[in-house]
């Protein structure tokens, strides 16, 4: 997140840094990776080097990229559902301490039940596999958003609550004009966690309840490559996955920056 309070405040140099420093760091990682593979003479079928992986990425691009798209679609739908669901449930839960007490065990149950264990049930009752995948991925991604959002909603400045009460704000108005914006710093962390989590959840869901063949996602390609002992291809799939994860992280960070840059301590540079 650019630290300057106004877009005008970001110099071109800073903008470059934001792109280049991570790339440089990643490049350094690649060099270390390649070096380890060379130095310890690790065979390709245990740990392929970046070169092998890059070749696989090129040669298998015809299958890998479409698979990435499938996974990304599930990811984003799960993330969207988790956002809506998590925020909605959090709003309901903070309405009353009773509701919170009554509902929190269920949210925990949803969080800790292994997808693999309940995937069959979901498969039985979901109308189709895509929906089942979405449900699985959603279940994984929504708890961080819920938790952060609950904390955010509870952390609203009491003086501002007084203010809204005084001016006769309806519940809805308090929610939209006060509680939601005040929760943004928390919600944005939830979003950042859930971003990566829904990607990995999409993968796990595909493992557990996955589609296969033509319309299948990265998880499937990954498992297939692993099964076929084609480690370079597996690492190519992993690289795509990590790339997607970093992109999603960048995106969620950008959203957080947009939401907070003008006012919140975390995004505003300290004046000095």
């Amino acid at each position: 997140m650019p630290p300057a309070p106004r877009p005008a405040g970001i110099s071109a140099r800073q903008r470059m840094l934001q792109i280049f420093v991570p790339l440089l760091a990643l490049g350094f990682g690649l060099v270390v990776w390649q070096w380890i593979v060379w130095a310890y003479e690790i065979p390709r079928y245990i740990l392929p080097g970046p070169a092998d992986t890059a070749i696989a990425l090129l040669t298998d691009s015809a299958t890998l990229w479409p698979a990435l798209l499938v996974t990304l679609r599930i990811t984003f739908m799960a993330l969207a559902m988790a956002m809506v669901g998590g925020v909605f449930l959090a709003v309901i839960i903070v309405q009353s301490r009773w509701l919170e007490l009554a509902l929190s065990p269920y949210t925990v149950i949803l969080q800790v039940t292994p997808i693999i264990a309940i995937a069959p049930l979901i498969l039985i009752y979901a109308p189709d596999t895509q929906t089942a995948l979405m449900i699985c991925a959603f279940l994984v991604a929504f708890f961080p958003i819920l938790s952060n959002m609950i904390q955010g909603l509870k952390s609203v400045d009491h003086h501002l609550i007084d203010l809204f009460e005084l001016y006769g704000a309806s519940r809805w108005q308090s929610l939209v004009y006060l509680r939601l914006p005040a929760s943004l710093p928390f919600l944005m962390v939830g979003l950042r966690i859930a971003g990566g989590l829904s990607l990995i959840a999409a993968v796990v869901a595909e493992f557990a309840a996955g589609s296969a063949g033509q319309g299948s996602g990265l998880a499937f390609r990954l498992i297939e490559a692993q099964y076929r002992l084609n480690l370079p291809r597996m690492f190519a799939a992993l690289v795509l996955l990590c790339g997607a994860g970093i992109a999603i992280y960048g995106l969620t960070s950008f959203v957080a920056w947009l939401a907070l840059r003008r006012w919140h301590e975390s995004a505003v540079r300290r004046e000095g």
Binding site: R44, A208, A209, G213, E224, R228
Partner: protein
């Protein structure tokens, strides 16, 4: 001294691993100078990768060394315990399926990913009309989705799933043994590293022989000690399940049939390897031109070791 050997299985201890447990339990491995540790597999246990990484000396696999040959991974199959693949497709008894070809009418076919990639699924698709990936649903080792849908079909081992399904649901599923329809891979092969084969063929030979003897004794001798070991490693296994498994192994000639009848348990032939490779290449699983000699070796089997024990 004894040679330390780690043997990784592909699943939790069960009758399908009986011969190995037998050889461990009755001291056959010890007699052959082997100090064997069995490391059981599980749903996602990475035993095969550990073989590749050299942390396991022998591993129960299928025909996957063909993939290894294609990828230059130095592992080979040195014996094939199961002459017939015990894989079956299961259907509800009242479902209108008469043979494998008619399963195209199923609402879904529930199977493992391995089956889907390089098992009988590509073979079925290329051999029979009307099968497509739309039918596939992943097997999560829970038969409930199968039981819930009368038109569903599920994979299984002839030795295990039918037993559980009958016990739980109260009805015996229809079974289609793929081996009966021309699907001819070896199964429960013993895989090991190329380097071990080259540097210590004697150890490999001893392991293969002792295992074969173990299997004879397990199927035709007193297997109570082996079963006790299995039950210890996998407390959820039941005596009934084991008995059922052994019975089916015998009934379908899974272990002893074909070349094994004369060559002994574990016997493999070049002809079957090439035929399977041809079939599956046709099915699009493998690319052409893989050097099969890097996938297996028949140097350790078909020597008639233990055949005499069958007479017990």
């Amino acid at each position: 001294g004894q040679d330390k050997v780690v043997f990784g299985t592909n699943w939790l201890a069960q009758a399908e691993h009986g011969g190995f447990y037998q050889a461990l339990a009755d001291g056959t491995y010890e007699q052959y100078g082997l100090d064997v540790t069995i490391r059981q597999g599980g749903p996602q246990a990475p035993n095969r990768q550990l073989l590749v990484a050299g942390q396991i000396d022998f591993y129960i696999g299928g025909m996957t060394t063909i993939d290894a040959a294609a990828e230059g991974v130095p592992i080979v199959a040195v014996a094939a315990i199961f002459q017939k693949d015990p894989q079956v497709l299961l259907a509800h008894p009242e479902a209108p399926f008469g043979d494998v070809a008619s399963l195209r009418g199923a609402s879904k076919i529930i199977m493992g990913k391995d089956t889907f990639f390089s098992g009988y699924w590509p073979w079925i698709k290329s051999t029979f009309e009307g099968f497509s990936d739309e039918l596939y649903e992943p097997y999560t080792f829970n038969p409930a989705p199968f039981l819930a849908d009368p038109m569903a079909v599920q994979q299984g081992y002839v030795t295990s799933e039918p037993f559980e399904i009958e016990r739980q649901a109260g009805w015996a599923p229809k079974m289609f043994l793929l081996a009966d329809y021309g699907y001819q891979p070896y199964s429960t092969t013993i895989q090991t590293g190329q380097s071990l084969v080259e540097e210590n063929p004697d150890l490999v030979q001893r392991f293969v022989d002792a295992s074969a003897i173990g299997w004879y004794n397990y199927l035709y001798g007193d297997n109570s000690e082996a079963n006790a070991l299995i039950l210890r490693d996998n407390p959820d296994m039941s005596e009934g399940q084991i008995a059922f498994g052994i019975e089916k192994l015998k009934q379908y000639g899974i272990v002893v049939s074909g070349d094994a009848e004369t060559g002994g348990i574990g016997c493999m032939s070049d002809a079957r390897w090439s035929e399977f490779y041809r079939q599956m290449t046709e099915a699009g699983v493998y690319k052409a031109g893989i050097d099969l000699s890097r996938a297996y070796t028949t140097a350790f089997t078909c020597k008639g070791v233990g055949v005499e024990l069958m007479a017990q």
